[in-house]
């Protein structure tokens, strides 16, 4: 029996894609291997590590816990959509660079997506609040300290940049 397929249309980083996908295809696999937006990574495929986090209509979701078909008619942002088209880094990306918030960089796209959304919701977080927001993203390299520092700095920059 041939697998059930669905036609979907969605926007990713401002571009509209139309594809036919198998019902069981994970959103993470679809984004990485069909759309070839491989910046977001897969770490556990059971929703714990947070590496595959993308924004679905502005809200962080674990793309390994969704099917591609569920993204139909939605708007997705991946790490490739964070910097401006002229290459200027988002304040969260810039702060991660300034504060050495990444080592191997594998969990980093998930951290960036989780925290850009969070800092938009809470522009003036305390360190404890930042830690709470980050607690669903596992990093095995950094011990988190520099990520926390980067997020506090990014929040300050975003407050200054806000109109």
């Amino acid at each position: 029996m041939p697998p059930e397929r669905h036609d979907i249309e969605l926007r990713v980083n401002g571009t509209t894609y139309r594809r036919s996908v198998e019902a069981r295809l994970l959103l993470s696999d679809f984004i990485r291997h069909d759309l070839l937006l491989a910046g977001m990574h897969v770490g556990c495929e059971h929703g714990v590590c947070g590496a595959c986090t993308v924004l679905l209509d502005g809200i962080p979701v674990r793309s390994c816990l969704m099917f591609a078909v569920q993204s139909n008619a939605h708007d997705i942002t991946t790490v490739e959509g964070l910097a401006t088209p002229d290459g200027a880094l988002h304040p969260v990306q810039q702060a991660m660079h300034e504060h050495h918030g990444l080592q191997c960089g594998y969990c980093t796209p998930g951290v960036l997506m989780t925290m850009t959304a969070y800092l938009q919701d809470n522009p003036s977080p305390s360190e404890d609040e930042v830690r709470d927001a980050l607690s669903g993203n596992l990093c095995r390299c950094t011990g988190y300290q520099n990520i926390v520092d980067a997020m506090m700095a990014a929040a300050a920059t975003m407050r200054e940049d806000a109109p």
Partner: protein, 780 residues
């Protein structure tokens, strides 16, 4: 203007690619016609294979091929021994290495039985369900003590017992004489388990045989690309120049990614050659828990003899080491335990014997610390127990036993993992202890603890010392080349997994060649870009490859200055190399850009003089005579909930000496990450096997990696005692953060809960709230 990059907290060159999602990892490799591979893995730990029926799987639409061990023919061979046994008298070592696909027996859960190749990973995994395996179950060897009973079944049928290795090393003559005059003898049994490295990126392999070019290209998450290239070329019947191993960006390694050959590394290239198609396998997280190597447990029966002043007279230790089902990494882990136990202390007599034991559990190979933790735990706990017995302050008993600064190089006589005598090249230990005690507020803590206790809070303090042998041989090499665009290209054979090599190596080059650090492009781990090398392990990358890069940079610098002095008809001493150009002293407008000089070094016309080489390029190698020994002290204050045993780290201090520092920002990151893994090991991460060798917590929801809520802010400081063994004076730092955290937890928890008074001793790691509860119940 000349900037000194070496020693500065230079921001990383590699960050931009990683932050914008443009860095290539193995799973990002997409090739036309690529097939996907899934492995059928044993669900039981010990069984004889009666038959494997793959007919139904082969018939499934989308499946291209299914293979078992029989299909591999002569290609089926046990893997090589990575590290042969060291030259120690009387050593026993039984080499039994892993196989590509299990043939007669399965020896641990997760051992591969068959492999499916299909048009997608989804289809390949579907077909795994179609394979019918008939197994005859065997008793399972899990417990390392029971494994040595005469009645135990053998993991390897052709051996008389489950002994993988037996090694005795001694120092300072007969231990009985040293102990005879002891004032106090402390004797205990210690258990230390280390877990899995669990990088956020699992392992992966892509193999692409291009028949028309007769070239094999392999993308691999390995930490040792050159060895993988050499081994696979031999196995595949190819020349080494026909095989290219590329290690792209790797999402963390921490040791297990250096193991080779993993079955998947052997099988994927063979499949690609057989099908003339590129093939990909990416380990999923469940597979990672069984198919990637672990580090696990040791049981130490250790005794320490001391005089009345708390000075160590001698230590006797007999320990068992869980090797797992195979022992491809030789004796590196237990040798590290045996050697690192001695730590920064004067131990006049030492008698250490270990037995490595085969079990029906996944293979044990080095994971960050690589057995050092086990030894450090035993030593630090013995000192704590002795301090209590002799009524000496725990910090003070450590101070009394430190190797004095004028005793270096300090030879511990026994043989280390690099086959050299365990000799500490340099060190100055007491100031490191002083700084740590000062930073943690040791002197004031007793009062603080009492005040807190009066208000119902349970505070505890811990202080632990360690040394770390780093930067071992054999060698690394590097090629440094100035290109016509003025940028510098550097290639070295080691792979990189996030250590910042693209920056720290660039700093070394930039200073020698007078260019900006962003103008230095580093290539690591591509065997076609640099042919020779060993790999990234044992905290050796910065030390060994760093010094090779330094040597090659110096050679290019001399070439450039020589060429410019010819061009300007002046002495080399009259030239300045800075800002990407060579100019004449005092006449800055008279200059030649390095890029132009590089072009001039490769002329279209005219004779190149005999004995000279074209281009501004040099390849140099560095091999250290022995390892460089780093040292440090960690100190911690915790608050414990006396009922739930919830633990909160209030303050964490690391004082560390790894010689000359290339980049303090990157160094701090290495320490932070190491401590986080140490915390995981000490209080969160436990591989829970049942008596059938089944791992009961094989998911990240059950095997708990520390989160940002579990890892505290760390206060770091450093002393600098350069290594005399290399020109840059550097020592390795990759593993230091992880090594002493276990004994630190044990000490701080005992202190917080007043366990000495309650006569509860913490003699094991990992601990956890529930384990503490159990230990207290037993006592009660």
């Amino acid at each position: 203007m000349t900037t000194q990059f070496f020693g500065a907290p230079v921001k990383r060159n590699e960050d931009r690619r990683l932050l914008t999602g443009q860095a290539l990892f193995v799973d990002d490799v997409e090739l036309p016609g690529m097939l996907h591979v899934a492995f059928l893995r044993s669900q039981v730990a010990h069984a004889r294979i009666k038959s494997i029926d793959v007919a139904k799987a082969r018939a499934r639409p989308g499946v291209v091929a299914v293979y078992t061990a029989d299909d591999l023919g002569a290609y089926w061979q046990p893997g090589p021994l990575l590290v042969p046994p060291p030259p120690i008298a009387g050593i026993v070592f039984h080499q039994r290495t892993q196989v590509p696909l299990a043939k007669d027996k399965v020896r641990h859960v997760g051992e591969p039985l068959a492999v499916v190749v299909a048009e997608s990973r989804y289809l390949a995994e579907d077909a795994l369900e179609d394979i019918d395996v008939d197994l005859e179950m065997l008793p399972v060897v899990v417990d390392i003590e029971a494994a040595l009973d005469a009645s135990s079944i053998c993991v390897h049928d052709d051996l008389a017992s489950n002994v993988s290795a037996h090694v005795r090393q001694t120092k300072g003559g007969d231990i009985r004489r040293a102990v005879a005059n002891a004032h106090t003898i402390i004797k205990r049994r210690f258990r230390y388990e280390h877990g899995i490295s669990s990088p956020i990126e699992t392992r992966g392999v892509v193999a692409n045989w291009e028949p028309r070019a007769a070239q094999m290209t392999i993308w691999d998450t390995t930490q040792a690309p050159v060895f993988v290239r050499n081994g696979l070329a031999a196995m595949l019947g190819l020349g080494e120049r026909q095989v290219r191993v590329i290690v792209p960006f790797v999402g963390g390694g921490f040791g297990p990614k250096i193991m080779m050959f993993y079955p998947e590394e052997v099988v994927l290239p063979w499949i690609s050659m057989r099908l003339n198609r590129p093939v990909k396998w990416i380990e999923d997280r469940l597979e990672h828990f069984f198919a990637t190597t672990h580090e696990r447990g040791q049981i130490h029966d250790a005794e320490m003899a001391l005089d009345a002043d708390g000075r160590i007279l001698g230590i006797k230790d007999v320990f068992l080491h869980d090797a797992g089902a195979y022992d491809p990494y030789g004796l590196t882990v237990p040798i590290n335990s045996q050697c690192t136990l001695l730590g920064p202390y004067v131990v006049p007599a030492y008698d250490s014997t270990f037995t490595a034991v085969f079990t029906n559990l996944p293979i044990v190979t080095p994971y960050r610390g690589a057995g050092r933790q086990h030894g450090v735990f035993v030593m630090e706990r013995l000192l704590d127990l002795a301090a209590h017995e002799l009524a000496i302050d725990p910090a003070d008993i450590r101070r009394r036993n430190l190797i004095p600064a004028d005793a270096f190089p300090y030879n511990n006589e026994i043989i280390y993992q690099d086959f050299q005598p365990l000799s500490y090249d340099s060190g100055n230990y007491e100031p490191v202890l002083d700084m740590a005690l000062d930073a943690i507020g040791y002197a004031a803590f007793a009062d603080e603890q009492k005040r807190a206790r009066d208000s119902g809070k349970h505070l505890g303090i811990g202080v632990a010392c360690y040394v770390e042998g780093t930067g071992i041989g054999p060698y690394e090499g590097a090629r440094v080349q100035i290109q016509a665009n003025g940028k510098v290209s550097v290639a070295t054979g080691i792979g990189t997994q996030g250590q910042g090599h693209f920056t720290s190596f660039a700093q070394i080059v930039a200073d020698q060649l007078g260019v900006d650090v962003t103008d230095v492009d580093i290539v690591t781990g591509d065997t076609d870009r640099f042919y020779w090398g060993a790999g990234t392990f044992a905290s050796r990358g910065a030390v060994v490859a760093g010094n090779a890069i330094h040597a090659a940079s110096l050679a290019v610098r001399h070439k450039a200055l020589k060429l410019a002095s010819d061009a300007f008809e002046c002495a080399e001493d009259d030239l300045v190399l800075a800002d990407g150009r060579i100019s004449i002293v005092g006449i800055p407008e008279k200059f030649i850009r390095l890029g132009d000089l590089a072009q001039r070094a490769n002329p279209m016309r005219g004779a190149v003089k005999p004995g000279t080489e074209p281009g501004l390029e040099s390849t140099q190698y560095f091999g250290p005579p022995g390892g460089a020994t780093a040292n440090g002290v960690h100190a911690m204050i915790v608050e414990m909930d006396a009922e739930t045993f919830d633990l909160k780290i209030l303050k964490y201090v690391v004082v560390h000496d790894c010689g000359t520092v290339i980049n303090p920002m990157i160094l701090a990151g290495q320490i932070h990450g190491g401590v986080a893994q140490g915390i995981g090991n000490a209080f969160f991460e436990k591989l829970s096997f049942d008596d059938q060798g089944q791992l009961l917590n094989a998911s990240l929801a059950d095997y708990l990696l520390p989160t940002v809520l579990d890892v505290p802010r760390m206060e770091l400081s450093h002393t600098v005692t350069p290594s005399p063994l290399n020109r840059l004076g550097i020592k390795g730092a990759g593993e230091a953060g992880a090594i002493p955290v276990g004994p630190l937890f044990a000490q701080a928890i005992e202190s917080a809960l007043g366990l000495k008074e309650k006569r509860v001793e913490l003699l094991e790691i990992p601990l956890s709230p529930s384990r503490l509860f159990d230990l207290m119940q037993v006592r009660a």
